[in-house]
Amino acid sequence: MTDESTPSHLSQLPPEMLDFTILKRTTTLAPRLGRLSLSSRKTILTPGFLGNTSRGIVPHVSQDNFPKTGINGVYIALEDFVEKHPQKTPPIFQIEASDPLRRFIALPHDSLIVLGARRQPPIPSAATNTNSEIGILTSVGFRTISSEYYAAAARKLQPDIVVGLADIPFGQETIGSRRKDKMSDRTETWTRDIIAKRNTIEKGTPRYNVFAPILPIEKELQSWYLEHLLDDMVDKISGVAIYDSHLLDQLPEELQPLPRLSFDNPTSPQALLRQVGLGMDLFTVPFVTEATDAGIALEFTFPAPQKTNGAERRSLGIDMWQNEHSESVIPLTEGCKCYACTKHHRAYIQHLLGAKEMLGWVLIQLHNHEILSAFFAGIRNSIETNNFEQDVAAFEVFYEPKLPEKTGSGPRVRGYQFQAQEHGKSTKKNPKAYKPLSAPLNVFHGHQPNSKPEVKEVIDDEALVGLVGIENIGRTEQLERLRIEDDHS
């Protein structure tokens, strides 16, 4: 994803100023090519993606392995760092050094950081938004943070890009028009807040760039906000974050030159292609880690290979839990340049999943990111050569429309990964599970849906003591047992 050639005018911009150059565009609602650059950070060619982090890392990828992913920029959610708020100042704000967030998570100097309030995808928060606050979900439960707090956090943490707060009642099926008015009003206020805060940063100190949210409601219902965005803020924002890709259709002309980050999370490569086709530039792609956790090695390329007549649609991924791989000494994908494919074979990866060894997820995650990088490179090339539409059509014919169903059990579900509704389900299903009084979410150890009972029943060293597959056990009990194990081994 790196473009070696730095745009010539970049050196004339203040060092923290983001440059987005559209390299190719035809009409609105058409795919476009771009280049997002910031001095001292790796250039991101668009359409492209950001590493979607959890607690500062791409899941399963330790910092020393991060360069193996080929990721040039990451998305980070503030809610992953503020569980002590409001009782205490979260540790991240106590670091007395420049670039504290990057330092804390040990991210390479040249990786771009995009900060948002919520993880992608966000889990609906039980704490409702107010005029000045949004509900978030930390690893210890629901909290709220104010717009002022968010802006102060952005100032302190020095990300390259901050996505402004959006008032969106996640998880609410229908939203009344009065509520939508409120969404628009609050989002405008909060966008003004984050811009105003940026302007208080002294000269010489890095200033973040602001991406303004575009709400997932009809254009008319956010017209005041959009109008004011154009009137007062357009020269102070560097991009937009779009929660509903259909609104690309109605994006005001003045916002067209700005880079577009999708918060309309695609659930499949096809969905991703549809958004690219509408002119989306940048994605977080949560389905990559979801596939990894499910033990699914992605296997798709863009453009798709030549289809042989009468052949069935190809799967978008390989379920590495299946026994058929147990003696297979071929890589996950023949010819793939990722670390997993160049060093290991399917038999080992299948074994690791079955043995619940964490390395299984590490290897699949590295592979899945390589597949995604190659997919985006293919997309850009296809746009460049004016074949995008035909290539998308061929892709849709060649591959299954959805990722394969998960069959094996994944790594232990971290509390903050639960969907709110799954939450209730899983505690009912596991009646023995402790329900801690203060209900810190991360003590629930549920299994993800669809896991085969036979996979769950496997007893082994890892399952007994590991990070994985511990069911129906409260954290305290779990820890006590572990200490015994430790003392005797």
């Binding site: 990828v61 330790s62 964490m358 081994s489």
Partner: protein, 405 residues
Amino acid sequence: MAPIAMPSALSYELLAKCSITKARAATLHLPHGPVPLPIFMPVATQASLKGLTPEQLEDVGCRLCLNNTYHLGLKPGQATLDAVGGAHKFQSWPHNILTVSFQMVSLLKLAKVTEEGVRFLSPHDGTPMLLTPEHSISLQNSIGSDIIMQLDDVIATTSPDLARMTEAMERSVRWLDRCIKAHKYPEKQNLFCIIQGGLDLDLRRACTAEMVARDTPGIAIGGLSGGEAKDAYCKVVDTCTALLPEKKPRYVMGVGYPEDLVVSIALGADMFDCVWPTRTARFGNAITAQGVLNLRNAAYSEDFSAIEAGCQCVCCRSQDEGGLGITRAYIYHVTAKETAGAHLLTMHNVHYQLNLMKLAREAIIGDRYPAFLREFFAELYDEKSKYPDWAVNALKGVGVDLLID
């Protein structure tokens, strides 16, 4: 019986002996390259070490790790191992592997030991299984490990049943003979015997004599690390090493706490393994020269210093020094929440163990091991009165009085 002369696929190159204690420094040349002794071997039970890639394990300096025969026999199974061409290829590990045998089996409540082998119900599906010495060796031949272990009859050292203990010891000797006979590749895999006999020193002496007579390339002292008193443990190690030939590696199985390592080295042992340093990493426990820190303690949430000051592992080295500059606060932030938190701390802990062995080896070569022991304990405990009696007594026995400067 008349011992059969056994080919060896290793050479033990003695470099130095401590002039006071029984500590030895050596280089052990194995089929997949030389390894320094004394050595700590991380335990990759199921052909993987707690989420680390083989490359990461290599980067922390490991050149010899453990796999478990029993686990690999079940998963991926002998057929797969044969198809893939052994455990090195299976896990893409270019360095040495030692396979421990079936210790876990003996811990199963339903295991029943007969002269034929160990009968037990598979913990996976409840089917009855029989493990014989021949089967154990056959599996290890398929695994292709550089060091393979005999099947032994292990019972808890704390067992008061002397008759059973004697039976187990004698059976282990008979099983060694069956293992030697079954071993197909003595020229490329080194079979180690395992001395049994519980805490009874006479039994241990008798067993040692029998085992030494069989002339295996290396010798292990087994059946320890089962919760026995440390004094008794030290007596067994001291007694056995006194009877062992100088030119063979001595492996004390299942030992890994830093104090146990430095004392056991003084008692003449060379090789150690333990799951503790890596297992404990996942619960946020960092091994340091000052002791184990549980980084899940809220006190560390705002501690922005390295896991261990001065540690040269990739996590602790600062970014300026080419490391990651991982802080205690960050480990607190990710432990038990993201698997990568465990990976980071596992790298640190393995590095700590390997580095401790490196420093011990340098001290032995420089003939200053007693001083090394003093420094080690002075660092670990803030006052001498806190030194554990068993360590003080054991070291006194080999000429080092920790309580006198």
